[in-house]
Amino acid sequence: MTNSWTDIKNTDLAIVMGGNAAEAHPCGFKWVTEAKAKRGAKLIVVDPRFTRTASVADYYAPIRPGSDIAFLMGVINWCIANGKVQWEYVKNYTNASFLVKEGFGWSDGLFNGYDAEKRVYDTADWDYQLGEDGFALTDPTLSDPRCVWALLKDHVAIYTPDFVENTCGTPKDRFLKICEMIGECAAPDRVMTSMYALGWTQHSKGAQNIRGMAMLQLILGNIGLRGGGVNALRGHSNIQGLTDLGLMSNLIPGYLNIPVDKEVDFETYMSTRGNAPLRPNQTSYWQNYRKFIVSFLKAMWGDAATAENDWAYHYLPKLDVPSYDILRTFEMMAKGEVNLYFCQGFNPLLSFPNRAKLTEALSKLKLLVVMDPLQTETAHFWENHGVFNDVDPAAIQTEVLELPTTCFAEDEGALVNSGRWLQWHWAGATPPGQARRDCWIMANIFLRLRDLYRVEGGKFPDPILNLTWDYADPYEPSPEELAKEMNGRALAPLYDATDPTKLVLDAGKQLKNFSQLKDDGSTMCGCWIFSGCWTEEGNMMARRDNTDPDDTGAYLNWAFAWPLNRRILYNRASADIHGKAWDPTRKLIEWDGAKWAGYDVPDIGVTSKPEDVMPFIMTNEGVGKLFARKGLKDGPFPTHMEPFESPIDNPLNAAIRGNPVARVFPDDLAQMATSAEFPLVGTSYRLTEHFHYWTKHNKVNAALQPEFFVEISEELAAEKGIAKGGQVRIWSKRGQIWAKAVVTKRIKPMICAGKTVHVVGMPIHWGFMGAAQKGFGPNSLTPFVGDANIETPEFKAFLCNIEPVEKGPLA
């Protein structure tokens, strides 16, 4: 989230699109209720189904799964055409005025430089025109035809209300009403918030969906303001923490990158990470990258990381492919290229696509280790559960070890919520049976491995042997020790940059925050963005002071928010170019003539002059990017793309299937269906009664939503002869499942490209383990393809078919 859960109460208009906040985030959704009740805020829901969120919305519109970009570009087009633009914001705080290279262009659904064979774009021209001084050229009048604003206007011109209606299935009058409601938030004193979740990410163009909303929010001037922003509602209680700590195959904690093969030494690695500002006076905070990575390497390898050995950079693994994401890992597993799979807090057999392929892949492992508080389907993939898991155990040779772990309530530590708050919690119960903390298990494995390396040597034992492991009990590092390590500490006395005689922090002391990090090896820090969470003043995450001066929703003394305890990112943009709040009732920080101050931690140097330094300090430009340059693989602007399995051709170019630069493995491409074979659109989602695949183990939750079902319209039910509560078979090109049918008015057929499109909605919560009735999940049906940029699987739009069955396998 750019903002926080508590800040949502400050909004005038909440748009829930690409998510179902009331259903999947009921506790966070209370802040929407608060905004409605206390501010008279309005709520818009755009969703293929009339959801629980829609049940309390002021306005609802249906949309065909996978057509969000067309809708969002349509809204942008309408806003531009109708003057619903926060002009001062757009001119000063976005790259609207930046001039783009002549080579950049778009036609027939594709940007310039497309290589169909390699499925990549040549992005060389997706950049600014630079002056001789190295800065980007701009035209503040926005009249140059190569300025971003002119290009954007051209780019969105095709997304007319008719195009939207035809592509998204959203009735034109509903679309226009929503445009009008959104357009009101272009006024400096009206603010909209966007709340989205996996309804936007789980597409082959998920990142572009979110880009679309980010651009709209920039145009409306709603980023950085109370009640505004682009707010990702994270799907697990600590998934934000997972991302922050870099639990991705290509990341290091704090959104640093794992090097790739060609980055053979530290200076080569750093050469593309200089982040020189692209405009005069701009912060471009990533210029501090070297401090972050050196301090990280010092945290990892301590004294073994020296200036002479480039801080042990050579200890870091180097990627030979862009990432070993889970799709790639299972692809390799299915090909027999993986021997051992460690599965920690994750149930891929139900949460990744094409279950048949997952079962095949797991069956080829030599060893599967599952660390989980529950008995997961993944750990029991080899067990025959009749039609619910129809495998032959005798034919599966994989050895499976289940290591029972504690669950959150049995453990101490911090969870990072969607609003980037690190909230410390304490154990509320004793772990049952032989359950152990994950840290205990990892530490014990590590220490045994280290002994093996010590005794037997190995190809490259140094990174293992030299790993810092200075915990009081090496067999069980404590949450406190780990948190302090993430915060970082001084390894040598730190002196004031302007006065070298002035001691700032003595060696061994906890850092105040990441502004104290050095690139000379005198600081260590496990995760730079978390720095400030456990200082010499103690555990800032454990703070529980809920005072909130003037009721702004900031709660600065409650827990700790990264970065620097800042609650609203880009909050400098809440004030105009001179540093006065756009809306005095929404003041966050203001320029008092000498410094920035206010209710939140300023997201700008506190003495940075307002006219000189722009708010978006993490970008090289200092401004928000309507044009993303080379940031995304699939284009600097979002362009409409159909899902890989779609009921209609891409209206911009029938030859384009799915996202033209998404990675698809050949076997999976062969399993992609056409609408001639499979006429119905499937989509997946969560229900309030359950949390993923956990709560079906709980008898209360199981009683409240006991059995797998799918939702279809009354029209589709009539067409297929399906009765309410009857059993149905649903199948795709990859598998088949059985479910009870919930026949509802909440799903209506849509008309897209002249065709009637029926949606089959499928909740995700059932499997063959636990207390609920045995059932299935949509992942038995969904295609094995992910987003072009981050490989999140395309769960939200795929093709299937449905038929009633006389006597199905369900209870």
Partner: protein, 324 residues
């Protein structure tokens, strides 16, 4: 030395953690089934109410979950029958239930998904209590809570007939009647009901009834500003008002919400019976006994007079026809 718990003022009331004496006493009972002539209570508790703002409800079932957890009931694992209601109806193990109604509003052309938390309304004039022949099986406290005292319940089911909202459910296991207690055990120690505390959108609030009515008026003003002209309070006067009240977007049509009675009344048979029955059916108890009965009210053995049995049976028969 422990002190009496305070009366709860909000759903999230958190009384001090040290043990306190309960503050809902036998002497706070103002009415008890089949026990006329109770002595006047020596104090009047603040009248409470649970306000359910249907327009804020997202149907998440946190209230159902909290109810199961707090009362430690164990509803059985069911199946899906094509709807979101689970269990499919109120049961002796499920005192509250989200009911979902799909409604095409003919006036606006818009679709609405109306979600209502169903459960005991805690009538000011409780039909269940009036119909109940078992002395002290159903009581009403001066704060308005209507509670079933299971030790005294004989499982006859007359309360079901007496209820204009079809709420109580008789267990086939222990032959006792069950329904929402408005968490009288929590209220007694200064806490609001479990459902209200669990509700993430604060659609359920709890407190003094006059405050709840005032809060409801604010909510209605908001709903009217959003175009719900007929938004209003559901506090039906046919049963003397209730201690569970709703804010409805369509207060002119309560029955839209999964059959919420438009104008609930206690069956005339119950009303008729209670008049003469007061003296006839319950004469055996006598005034003199009232003090002693009250003293042991909450743990009395079951006692039913033959006349009660006969008259109540007539009521059930008649009632059944009345309802058909």
């Amino acid at each position: 030395m422990t002190t009496r718990a305070p009366e709860p003022t909000t759903a999230a009331a958190n009384p001090p953690v040290q043990p306190m004496e309960v503050n809902l006493l036998p002497s706070d009972v103002v009415r008890a089934s089949a026990m006329p002539n109770l002595p006047a209570p020596d104090r009047q508790l603040t009248k409470v109410a649970k306000l359910i703002d249907v327009s804020k409800c997202i149907g998440c079932k946190a209230c159902q979950s909290a109810c199961i957890e707090w009362n430690d009931t164990q509803p059985e694992l069911g199946v899906n029958v094509g709807v979101y209601e689970n269990p499919h109806d109120l049961t002796p193990d499920m005192f509250t239930l989200m009911r979902f109604t799909e409604y095409e509003n003919p006036q606006t052309g818009d679709f609405e998904w109306l979600i209502r938390k169903d459960g005991c309304m805690h009538c000011e004039d409780p039909g269940c209590l009036k119909a109940c022949p078992a002395p002290g099986a159903i009581v009403q406290y001066s704060n308005g809570i209507v509670d079933f005292i299971h030790e005294n319940c004989i499982g006859c089911g007359y309360c079901v007939t007496g209820c204009p909202f079809d709420i109580p459910r008789v267990s086939k296991v222990d032959h006792k009647s069950y329904k929402c207690t408005l968490c009288s055990d929590r209220v007694a120690v200064g806490q609001g009901p479990a459902c209200a505390k669990a509700c993430p959108t604060q659609c359920i609030s709890f407190g003094p009834k006059d405050e709840m009515l005032a809060h409801a008026e604010d909510r209605i003003a908001d709903l009217k500003a959003r175009g719900y002209e007929n938004a209003g309070i559901y506090d039906p006067q046919g049963v003397g008002g209730t201690h569970v009240i709703y804010v409805l977007h369509h207060a002119d049509q309560p029955s839209l919400y999964a059959g919420l009675p438009d104008d609930p009344q206690i069956s005339p048979l119950v009303q008729g019976w209670k008049g003469p029955a007061k003296t006839v059916g319950l004469a055996a108890l006598g005034l003199a006994a009232a003090g002693a009965v009250l003293h042991g009210l909450l743990s009395r053995p079951n006692r039913v007079q033959p006349e009660d049995e006969m008259q109540a049976q007539a009521l059930v028969n008649g009632g059944a026809e009345d309802r058909a």
